[in-house]
């Protein structure tokens, strides 16, 4: 690769739109995308990524790599929150530590989408079953986070409410974004199996439009991320450092697991990005309901204000270099 991959990444439409969104905030432009329009794009992206992933999984079938990779993905989303928790406990109480750790164990679908776009622009192959990993990594991290609170929290948890296992499962699996992604994936799979003509009719919506809608949504994400920055300052330098170094650390674990799994470079990048990204949809929803003691600005400002932009702009190309170093290009 001749050109610096970071530069190459920055000159992709989604990243550029993200940047002009962020810049508009710094220059105090009154550009805004009013609610609920961002929700429309967010729902659309989840539906489309799920649907297309389901089709790809059906097409490629369950190869040897699928089961080990999905298992490893779930494992990562169980282990990363534990590591994050231990680190965060230096500075934060159990509630905040568990909530932030869960966010970093879980994933960000839009970061994943951006990594896919990056791979496509570099003509690097990847497999549809990685969307399965995406879908499977949201819930386990939430469960770990809630169990950490359940067992590590002081017994005299103020205003405590009983946290039933059923509530934990409900929050982790039936969260709107998890549910939409999973069920769209199942629909895609079913359609590809039983009714392939349906795919073609969906594609103008789920495929052709996707890239542009991604750009539009990233324009908004740029605005949102930049608006979060001030409240990050209040959160303190420990958390700011955490929001950058935790993804890098997770990407390092991720790349070695990807090597063990003998993933190709495309799948490896996606795996690393799943490890490195942090959730701002499912995890905040679950934590707000079940651990109101945790300060929401901690877990939302770090994920949206720092980790997300870092991954989108710098992280993905950095992880790609990492993958290229660690995983020798096998002659496939």
């Amino acid at each position: 690769m001749e050109v610096n991959p970071i530069i190459q990444n920055v000159f992709a439409p989604p990243v550029l739109f993200f940047l002009i969104g962020a810049i508009s905030v710094f220059f105090k432009s009154d550009l805004e995308i009013p609610a609920p329009l961002p929700k429309l794009f967010s729902l659309y992206l989840l539906l489309a990524i799920g649907f297309r992933g389901g089709i790809e999984i059906q097409k490629s079938g369950f190869t040897d790599q699928v089961l080990p990779t999905l298992s490893a993905a779930i494992l990562m989303s169980l282990i990363i929150p534990l590591i994050g928790f231990v680190i965060l406990r230096y500075k934060f109480n159990v509630f905040n530590s568990a909530a932030i750790a869960a966010a970093y164990g879980s994933i960000s679908a839009v970061t994943f989408i951006s990594a896919e776009s990056f791979l496509e622009s570099q003509n690097i192959d990847f497999d549809g079953f990685m969307v399965g990993a995406l879908a499977l990594m949201e819930s386990p991290a939430i469960i770990v986070g809630l169990l950490l609170v359940k067992f590590a929290a002081p017994k005299n948890r103020p205003n405590s409410r009983k946290m039933h296992l059923s509530a934990i499962l409900h929050e982790s699996i039936l969260n709107g974004s998890v549910y939409l992604l999973l069920s769209s994936l199942i629909i895609g799979f079913l359609i590809a199996s039983t009714n392939p003509s349906g795919i073609e009719k969906m594609e103008p919506f789920t495929k052709d439009l996707f890239y542009g809608a991604e750009c539009f949504f990233l324009l908004d994400m740029g605005i949102v991320a930049a608006q979060r920055l001030p409240s990050l300052k209040k959160a303190g330098s420990f958390l700011i450092a955490f929001a950058i170094f935790m993804p890098i650390f997770n990407s390092l674990i991720g790349v070695f697991v990807a090597k063990l799994l003998t993933l190709g470079p495309g799948n490896a990048l996606l795996f690393v990005v799943l490890c490195a990204s942090a959730s701002y949809l499912a995890v905040p929803a679950a934590m707000r309901m079940t651990v109101p003691e945790a300060k929401s600005s901690y877990y939302i400002s770090t994920t949206l204000g720092l980790t997300f932009p870092f991954n989108i702009v710098l992280g993905i190309p950095i992880y790609m270099s990492l993958v290229n170093k660690v995983i020798p290009l096998s002659p496939l």
Binding site: P34, A35, P36, P38, K39, S42, N159, R161, N175, S177, D220, I223, V224, Q227, S231, S279, Y280, L281, A282, V283, P284, A285, A286, R288, M289, P292, K295, S296, S297, I300, L304
Partner: protein, 93 residues
């Protein structure tokens, strides 16, 4: 008659409405998409697409007795999750 204003996260809307229904209030009005700041939290418009959600503003016109009846339940809910509740006088037209 009294007017009760409740402002809290839309995530708790179902629970609060259940409390209102239990007390048999004659009616209520809900306005979503409210943002704001409380003693601890800031709720901005962008939270509508994240998992946090924005605020709901609920207005109830009812008799004082009903309010007394619901007081403990509402206070418990709001003290756990945040939010404010205020009462004022109101006369039917």
């Amino acid at each position: 008659m009294k007017r009760l204003d409740l402002i809290f996260s839309e995530r708790e809307l179902d629970a609060i409405l259940k409390t209102l229904e239990k007390a048999n209030v004659p009616g209520y009005t809900v306005m979503k998409h409210a943002t704001g700041r409380g003693p601890e939290r800031v709720v901005t418009e962008d939270m509508e697409f994240t998992g946090l959600g924005s605020n709901a503003h609920v207005i109830v016109f009812c008799e004082q007795e009903l309010i007394d009846q619901m007081r403990e339940d509402i206070k418990a809910e709001l003290s756990y999750y945040g939010g404010v509740a205020y009462i004022s006088e109101a006369t039917p037209l």
